[in-house]
Symmetry: C2
Subunit: 589 residues, 2 copies
């Protein structure tokens, strides 16, 4: 990889995961400079950032990851090493914390870790007990300052997000007060994730506490934040602006260490950074990669930084690490999926090839009596371009057998969507058989627009352990696919350019049933992400019939989404963990 020398000097022991798909070499363009000018009050302090990828509940493994990163930072001259929120635990541990031995084993791991830490302190995130007889939640979202074999300070998180994908008030009791840590003549304010998110970047003023103000009122020379801040499109930019604002307000440098990798539906983008006291980004670590760096915070403005990515590339990288971590952390090495000749399965296969290596991706093309030959050919062309496996398994015979078996039950009844669903479900059975027989994790390929309006078959094309692109609206699927083809054809152009079709009846096209995708996606964004009412959306100029149809379809398909595979979240409001709708309800609005 082609890195500027300055990066090699700054980033020590970066664990760049080689991209196994050679057609998409990772491009790294880091051009920021390390300012060696030292703010006098910081006495040349060098801060190590351990942007690691913990596995939830894997205390021994996470301790090893932390120690390896710590030692790399040590070799590079760090005076203090910072790791992410709950770095010893993995974020979010969810109800695992209630298991009787979860927190005790976490504390054992913390003790073990402390013994390995010498004079250079390590800040590590973990879960602690709250006092058993004091009222409140049983646990603390905690950070420990380890130094010279001891746990010298314990910091509790103050602001506990309980909205969207977050449930921290379910588990944790907030800190009662904040105080800086005095260390070698420096006053360091240590906070955890949400603690540093000032009001203007939250939807409304959620909290009556402000840990940054509480700390700065006592005087601090440096702010450090341990984070596990989940990714969505635009979040890295937002975070830079927010942290810069905090630094300017507090007039001190801000050290921000974010976790990287994915756990279930949440992707963490890393992008750990250091802001100088003027709020300028002095150094930002790369996104979507594990990485260690040692940096001297200073108060000089600096215009150079790791460039943020454009939308398509950012989404692509997020989905690749999300897919890779889900598959590998679940203990699988290969995946299978259905290749329909359509764009959704083509994009999913491309992401899988990039994440796992094409030799670990197994496609099936399963033509029905209504499939075009082009769909099969496009699937094989895609497989060839990517270097993945592909086999053809026609469903005609099984479909005929189902029709005959059901004939007595369905005597005198006309064909309808039932028969379309049977075809989709036959494919589901075949793919699950492939998955069971050869131990591939099955990927499901539906996009967010389809899932929203229920244009998908439960137990059919919704089968799978992971819904890779279920938070990508259809127009984003096109955007990323074109970006993938920016230099040469990876996804066959006919797949991108032909009118989308489920091919479950003769000459079927998506747009026979659905609004045009640009309109559908625009209305869905207003309805699902912004939670506007139908009337409000119609008031913005959209067609009333279309809006009410979409609203009704979204509401009626909650039951299907309840049984959907977990999906990787890349927008500000995904179906899944962050959106909790009742199934049985009669609100229309």
């Amino acid at each position: 990889m082609d890195r500027p020398a300055i990066w090699n000097r700054l980033v020590i022991g970066a664990k760049f995961q080689a991209n196994p798909l050679s057609i998409f070499p990772t491009q790294n363009h880091f051009s920021f400079a390390a300012r060696t000018t030292k703010a006098t009050y910081l006495s040349s302090m060098k801060i190590g950032l351990a942007q690691i990828n913990p596995v939830v509940g894997d205390f021994p493994g996470n301790a090893k990851r932390l120690l390896a990163a710590y030692r790399e930072c040590l070799e590079a001259g760090a005076d203090l090493v910072v790791s992410p929120e709950l770095s010893l635990v993995g974020y979010p541990p969810r109800d695992l914390v209630f298991k009787s031995q979860f927190v005790p084993k976490c504390l054992q791991a913390l003790d073990y870790l402390a013994e390995e830490i010498k004079e250079v302190p390590l800040l590590v995130g973990y879960v602690d007990h709250h006092h058993p007889n004091h009222p409140g939640k049983p646990f603390r979202n905690a950070a420990a300052w380890l130094e010279n074999g001891n746990i010298c300070h314990r910091i509790w998180k103050t602001l506990l997000p309980t909205y969207d994908v977050f449930d921290e008030r379910r588990y944790f009791e907030p800190s009662e007060s904040c105080a800086p840590i005095h260390w070698r003549g420096t006053r360091i304010g240590v906070t955890i994730c949400e603690d540093i998110w000032t009001e203007s970047y939250l939807q409304r003023p959620f909290y009556d506490r402000d840990p940054i103000k509480e700390l700065t009122a006592q005087g601090v020379d440096l702010l450090i934040n341990l984070s596990a801040s989940p990714y969505h499109l635009g979040k890295p930019q937002m975070r830079q602006a927010m942290l810069g604002g905090v630094a300017r307000m507090a007039k001190v440098p801000v050290i921000y260490c974010n976790t990287v990798g994915a756990n279930d539906q949440l992707i963490f983008d890393g992008h750990s950074l250091v802001c100088d006291a003027m709020g300028n980004v002095q150094c930002q670590l790369p996104g979507f990669e594990t990485c260690c760096a040692v940096i001297e915070p200073n108060s000089q403005p600096c215009s150079q930084s790791a460039p943020l990515l454009d939308d398509a590339e950012e989404l692509y990288k997020a989905l690749v690490i999300g897919l890779r971590d889900y598959v590998h952390k679940c203990g699988f090495s290969s995946v299978c999926l259905g290749l329909s000749g359509g764009i959704d399965s083509a994009l999913t296969a491309t992401l899988a090839a990039a994440a796992l290596g094409p030799e670990h991706v197994y496609g099936l093309t399963m033509p029905s009596p209504y499939s075009s030959r082009g769909s099969v050919d496009d699937s094989f062309a895609l497989a060839k371009n990517l270097g993945i496996h592909c086999q053809e398994v026609p469903i005609r015979d099984v479909y005929e057998s189902f029709k005959q078996t059901l004939a007595p039950l369905f005597a005198g009844k006309a064909a309808d969507v039932t028969e379309e669903n049977i075809q989709a479900r036959i494919r589901g059975v075949l793919l699950m058989a492939y998955s069971n027989k050869d131990n591939h994790l099955l990927l499901t390929t539906g996009n967010k627009s389809e899932l929203a309006v229920g244009y998908c078959t439960i137990y059919g094309d919704m089968c799978g352990g992971l819904a890779v692109i279920s938070d990508l609206p259809k127009m984003r699927v096109y955007q990323i696919s074109r970006w993938i083809n920016r230099e040469r054809e990876i996804i066959p152009w006919p797949t991108i350019e032909k009118p989308p079709s489920a091919e479950l009846r003769p000459d079927q096209k998506d747009q026979d049933t659905l609004p045009e995708y640009p309109v559908l996606d625009a209305i869905l964004e207003l309805y699902v992400e912004h939670q506007l009412s139908s009337d409000e959306i119609i008031g913005r100029g959209y067609d009333e019939t279309t809006v009410r149809w979409i609203q009704r379809r979204v509401d009626l398909n909650e039951w299907k989404r309840h049984q959907a595979a977990p999906g990787l979240r890349v927008t500000s409001k995904a179906f899944g963990i962050g959106r909790r709708m009742p199934i049985v309800q009669q609100f229309i609005g």
Copy 2:
């Protein structure tokens, strides 16, 4: 129905839903007496209890339900009418509250309701806005005192449960203070659900507030609580004891109005009650039925009350109302299900017949090459006993067709669990086709023990819109089935007495693979409900190999349960909304 005269005088306009399955006439044995002695300080106040069954988000419908109950209580001489928590909204509305028009429409409905209320006040539960510029959550879990066309008082909930199935801190801001309402010379302390749950009945002291103490310190003559308290086995007894304790502590009567019916996974059992100032239950309304009653609280001890049910009957009634509400509130009138000849599907069919009427229940028996003839015969015998529909659809031909289709893909590979799963999935496809064609809601029939260890096929026997008995451990399935057969055979005795088998390979028995069910259930209760570690369970004398096998199976099957149909919760810890485990995790303990 045979009711003592005293009950007819007390309970006015009780809306007993006729049990459509005549073989199980509802038995009501209400024998408590109405004491007419009036506590002088209460000035003969007669309290109406409106134990209604709201539908989530159905503001017009819920307003009608409230008004109908209010008017019945009025006719019976009520001086004040109390309804459940969020009675205008349905509990829990979950993320619907974030829809831009949800709370505005709720407030419109409240205004409409207020206009209909004359001099007899109505206490109604609703969602209000929190102040838009004050920090905190955007909403209040609220109660309104409606009187003479006005909203005279608004009460906010103080203790907001955020554990198990509850997420109230996600939405609501707690009240800052509590004060009694002064009305006709009486000081009334109004609280909402959790507010009255004193520390000794919660797992640990969660809160640093105690609304009952705050109110009694100011002096109250009566405590009223609006509740939506979800059912689990033993909860009615626990609630009686808790409310009695509160009355004794406060030395005033307690009026407790609980919601009834089911919303998604939660069943509400009603069992509204009045405790006298000595903590004795003066009157308890029936469980699992909508009901209105008018009662004069007094301070005389009273030993008579509606008897609580034994376990099997209580669970049976809970599941019947849970099933009925899910199906009807979703807009379905009929269900279909697979009848395997086994006990799980037999119990599910029996519950469905009781809930919906046997004419609305459609069974399919789908023998495979490995099915015993007895299984088909037992299914038809069950259908005959219940009066439900049953048809036979053999899966042999489709199974053969799948094997032939997959032969090229599976060349040289031995048969394994893949082939068993194909059979289960063929049945899933057939049942979903039946559901699609005739608009039956498909019920899935798995029990909690199977779901815990993953002894079930995703997209196969797990297919369905509702998992009726997925929170019943296998031994409870036997207990309830025997209770159903207590007078005569409803579920064929061979179904209950034969060794359980999935019949997916020759001579297969559950106990080839699983521990004996009494042992499995006992270990699962310790591991899943009590969250003990393997070591702790082994320490109680269970076989180490068995415990570790179960622990591993439970953990590895989290991904399957993520895609399971919603299940009716009847134990203190169900899979589903109240148990939120990560899928990707490596904690063993």
